[in-house]
């Protein structure tokens, strides 16, 4: 396998323009002859399907939910970045680019990130035109707020439901194309394999989640928009059905998986309340605009928070990072929370949380202003915890939230399999080792609205496509493998349900491959995951039948893939002998406990190639070269 990033030449500001000119075009009349299979209908998938449909391609969209509007992008709260510089506070495309590269701890591909910053403004325009009700000021113009890792206000938002409104915008644009006859919807379908013919991705195998039928679909290209793998950790802020199965099956068909160890632990989540817990709930990072994070100065201070006077509180983010304060990037804030809890200064029953306090903001701005900004988040917190954040500080703790790693893609968003494109969180591209807040929505929509629609044309126009139908041997053989695996899970008469296995795997991942990692722990994790995987295939119990609606069968397949992916995440964390962004190796830190990169040895994207069951995957390196920014120790002090 050879990794070719296909980054165009020329100065960074001109690369995308030049590339757009150099790419081949598909004649308008010919577009409808190309059938594109879009898998997943979150921000990336829906925006891609809408745009490709608008261009005239024959688009087929597959998704696991009953409606495309339910994809997990819907849950994003805080906002979306762009370099509009409407607040006149010094923003620019260059600054958005620079902040994103730095925020990712210099582990992203420069040219991709610059392009992302370039198209971000178009996204805001597009969404406003669709009727996305972004927050506005009294003059009728758009409002912005601040997010972590930036000193300008560049985040557009729609109350605490920005992801919902952006997704409904993309969904409605896609539905308009359904009405126009250019997009066909396939609800409740789960992609279970990729079909390759003559070295090209030519189709997918999916399970009809209502009838249980295993279906084959052929096309000219596949766009995978299936999100990240945060649910590998069992407890995360991801939705129950978010999963890595489609991406993982593509990996096993030859798509390289890049930087799997780059996982994001979000600092502001509602802490775990008990064993029954099925997921964790995020409290938007935007709360850190007005909330102050603190713990008691003394570990033995067990007074209720409102009785702890100012001099006995440690606002540790403001103390350690005076220039960014409570708005340091997520990885920094999460590690700092872990550090104070490790010192025994954590609060709450188990000592595994810190305070996020709005007392000062309420005194300064009034309760109503705070309610206007964050009311829905405060309500959500109250309902889950039974504590009122207007009166007592919130308690928060880090939780798995996002995965920067994903399938490796080149500048055109194509994986190492020709014709297989990967968009949004499912790819590894733009966030390096740490994603900044409000950048996921930006990337998903950039990929779908403004990048894939150009790059896929170049591939379609420049390739030859031998006939491919679902009657081909390649389709039949791949479908048979899917049938066999389904059969294997159902016939296994073990004693343990998928959820129990998931919980056990998640515990290993969180303990050894979580916020802080070390070589010994990672080796231990690999041993434990292998043992659990072996047990999984012997002792799995799946209820019900394969030929009907059966959520536990869907679930079992996803856990089976996590049992393999978990090992790869640990292996990747083990080989990366440095700390960067969300990947923190205890052996590599500065005297002040900050992440210590090793640019000489690790300024590369790690792309893993599958080599067969129980074989060690092969590591390929894409060297990251930085022509436009200088590699620096990241500092938010």
């Amino acid at each position: 396998m050879k990794l070719d990033s296909k980054v165009p030449g020329g100065p960074i500001q001109e690369k995308w323009d030049r590339h757009r000119f150099e790419m081949k075009l598909v004649n308008p009349a010919n577009k409808r002859k190309y059938k594109i299979l879009v898998v997943g209908t979150g921000l990336a998938g829906a925006s891609a399907a809408a745009t490709l449909g608008g261009l005239g391609y024959d688009v087929h969209a597959f998704f696991i939910h009953d409606s495309p509007r339910r994809a997990h992008s819907i849950a994003a709260q805080g906002g979306i970045n762009a370099a509009k510089n409407y607040p006149n506070d010094g923003d620019s495309i260059w600054r958005l680019f620079y902040d994103t590269i730095k925020g990712g701890d210099y582990r992203a591909r420069e040219a991709n990130v610059y392009r992302l910053a370039q198209v971000a403004n178009n996204i805001i325009d597009q969404c406003v035109a669709q009727g996305v009700p972004f927050a506005r000021e009294y003059g009728g113009y758009l409002d912005n707020r601040s997010f972590g890792g930036a000193q300008v206000s560049r985040t557009f938002y729609a109350r605490g439901q920005t992801g919902q409104q952006l997704l409904l915008g993309a969904y409605s644009a896609m539905m308009q194309q359904v009405n126009a006859g250019n997009v066909k919807l396939y609800p409740r379908r789960e992609m279970l394999d990729l079909v390759i013919k003559n070295g090209q991705a030519r189709g997918i195998i999916c399970r009809n989640l209502v009838s249980g039928e295993i279906e084959s679909h052929a096309g000219h290209a596949v766009a995978l928009c299936t999100g990240g793998y945060g649910n590998l950790y069992y407890l995360s802020t991801n939705a129950m059905n978010s999963n890595a199965t489609a991406a993982w099956r593509c990996y096993k068909r030859g798509a390289a998986f890049a930087n799997p160890c780059f996982t994001q632990i979000h600092p502001t989540c509602i802490p775990v309340s008990g064993d029954h817990q099925s997921k964790l709930t995020l409290m938007s990072e935007s709360l850190r605009n007005d909330g102050r994070v603190w713990v008691p100065k003394r570990a033995d201070d067990k007074r209720p928070p409102n009785q702890i006077p100012e001099e006995d509180r440690d606002y540790y983010l403001e103390r350690r990072y005076p220039s960014f304060g409570n708005l340091v990037p997520r990885d920094v804030a999460s590690r700092a929370a872990k550090a104070v809890c490790d010192e025994g200064r954590g609060v709450g029953e188990a000592g595994l949380s810190v305070y996020l306090d709005f007392r000062d903001a309420i005194a300064r701005l009034g309760r109503k202003a705070i309610a206007d900004k964050y009311g829905n988040l405060f309500d959500m917190y109250l309902r889950i915890t039974d504590e009122n954040p207007y009166e007592v500080p919130m308690r928060i703790y880090p939780a798995v939230h996002y995965t920067m790693g994903g399938l490796w893609v080149d500048y055109n968003l194509m994986s190492t399999i020709p014709g297989l494109y990967v968009l949004g969180e499912a790819n590894f591209s733009d966030h390096g080792a740490n994603r900044l807040g409000a950048s996921a929505l930006m990337q998903g929509l950039a990929d779908g609205y403004f990048i894939l629609p150009y790059t896929i044309g170049d591939y379609l126009a420049g390739s030859t496509f031998p006939t491919a139908t679902v009657e081909d041997d390649e389709f039949k053989a791949t479908r048979q493998e899917v049938l066999d695996q389904t059969e294997r899970m159902i016939r296994n008469r073990g004693n343990k349900d998928p959820r129990t296995f998931h919980r056990e795997l998640g515990a290993i991942m969180w303990d050894y491959v979580g916020m802080a990692r070390n070589a010994q722990g990672l080796r231990e994790a690999i041993t434990k995951i292998r043992a659990l995987r072996e047990e999984y295939w012997q002792n799995l119990k799946v209820p019900g039948r394969p030929d009907s609606f059966n959520k536990y069968l869907e679930y079992a397949g996803r856990i089976g893939d996590y049992m393999e992916l978990g090992e790869l995440v640990a292996m990747d964390a083990l080989q990366r002998e440095e700390s960067c962004g969300g990947h923190f190796r205890e052996e590599y830190q500065t005297e002040e406990g900050e992440a210590l990169r090793n640019d000489e040895r690790f300024a590369f994207a790690a792309a893993w190639e599958y080599k067969g069951p129980n074989q060690k995957p092969e590591l390929h390196r894409e060297d990251l070269t930085f022509e436009s920014v200088e590699l620096k120790q990241r500092s938010y002090k």
Binding site: I74, A129, L142, Q165, Y171, H276, S278, L282
Partner: protein, 253 residues
């Protein structure tokens, strides 16, 4: 910490769309009041699987009240006893120790049962397909500041746009009307200048599709507003009627 509780569940079980369903009784012990309602059903399912029974099927995804996947009629109320939340945001502390809890799917002709508590809500998508959008292709948009929107209009649009498409409004309505769902989308776009261009076609097409899907008429019971997890106001239905009337009377085809 509150002590754990025992609940007596009566759950609608139906193997498939064309098979008859029935209520089945289950007793669940040691339920923490801090559990969410759906986590309680997860625990029930783990026990059912352990003893070789089929688990209760239900849709659920984000579990924070925004995706609109979940929805059950709990003791006769869509999404249960707590106002302004989806089923996933309900916690067991809303119930008493020893309570009997009756759990049923959304019941409406236009939402056929797929299995147990899972229903087919694709009719909602078809209503959106008929016109629930602004027709704007990628790349056509002017600068975002080209069209200022008065803040009160933007707030009203946002209030309506908060709809999560869960279907509780239909389940709660004695006529199984989809008026609140349809009105929320029509209102969201009608309040914004971007949406005015196609307001007429949109109102006509969406109302026509809503009727074609077999949803009942709205007769102002207000049950929809009462159960809506996003507290979408019934005034959006009045707005829809105005938009529809304007389309038919003032601007006939």
């Amino acid at each position: 910490m509150a002590k754990n509780m025992t609940v007596y569940l009566k759950i609608w079980r139906q193997p498939g769309p064309d098979q008859p369903g029935r209520m089945v009784d289950y007793t669940l012990q040691d339920v923490s009041p801090d559990m969410s309602f759906l986590e309680m059903l997860d625990v029930l399912n783990t026990q059912l699987i352990a003893r070789g029974d089929e688990p209760v099927e239900f849709d659920s995804d984000c579990r924070e009240g925004i995706c609109g996947s979940c929805g059950m009629v709990i003791n006769g109320i869509a999404h249960g006893p707590l106002k302004g939340v989806a089923t996933c945001q309900l916690h067991m502390r809303s119930f008493d120790d020893g309570a009997t809890i009756v759990i049923e799917p959304w019941r409406a002709r236009s939402f056929p049962v797929i299995k147990d508590l899972v229903v087919d809500r694709s009719a909602f998508d078809r209503i959106i397909i008929s016109g629930g959008y602004v027709t704007v292709k990628t790349g056509q948009a002017p600068d975002a500041h080209a069209i200022p929107v008065p803040r009160p209009d933007q707030e009203k649009a946002m209030d309506a746009a908060a709809c999560i498409g869960c279907g509780a409004c239909v389940a709660a309505c004695p006529n199984a009307s989809a008026a609140l769902f349809t009105a929320a989308k029509i209102s969201h776009l009608a309040y914004l200048p971007q949406g005015r261009v196609e307001a007429r076609e949109r109102a006509l097409a969406m109302v026509r599709q809503m009727d074609a899907e077999g949803f009942g008429n709205c007769s102002n019971h207000g049950e929809c507003e009462a159960v809506c997890p996003k507290e979408i106001s019934i005034s959006t239905i009045a707005k829809m009627r105005r938009e529809y009337l304007k389309a038919v009377v003032l601007n006939p085809e």
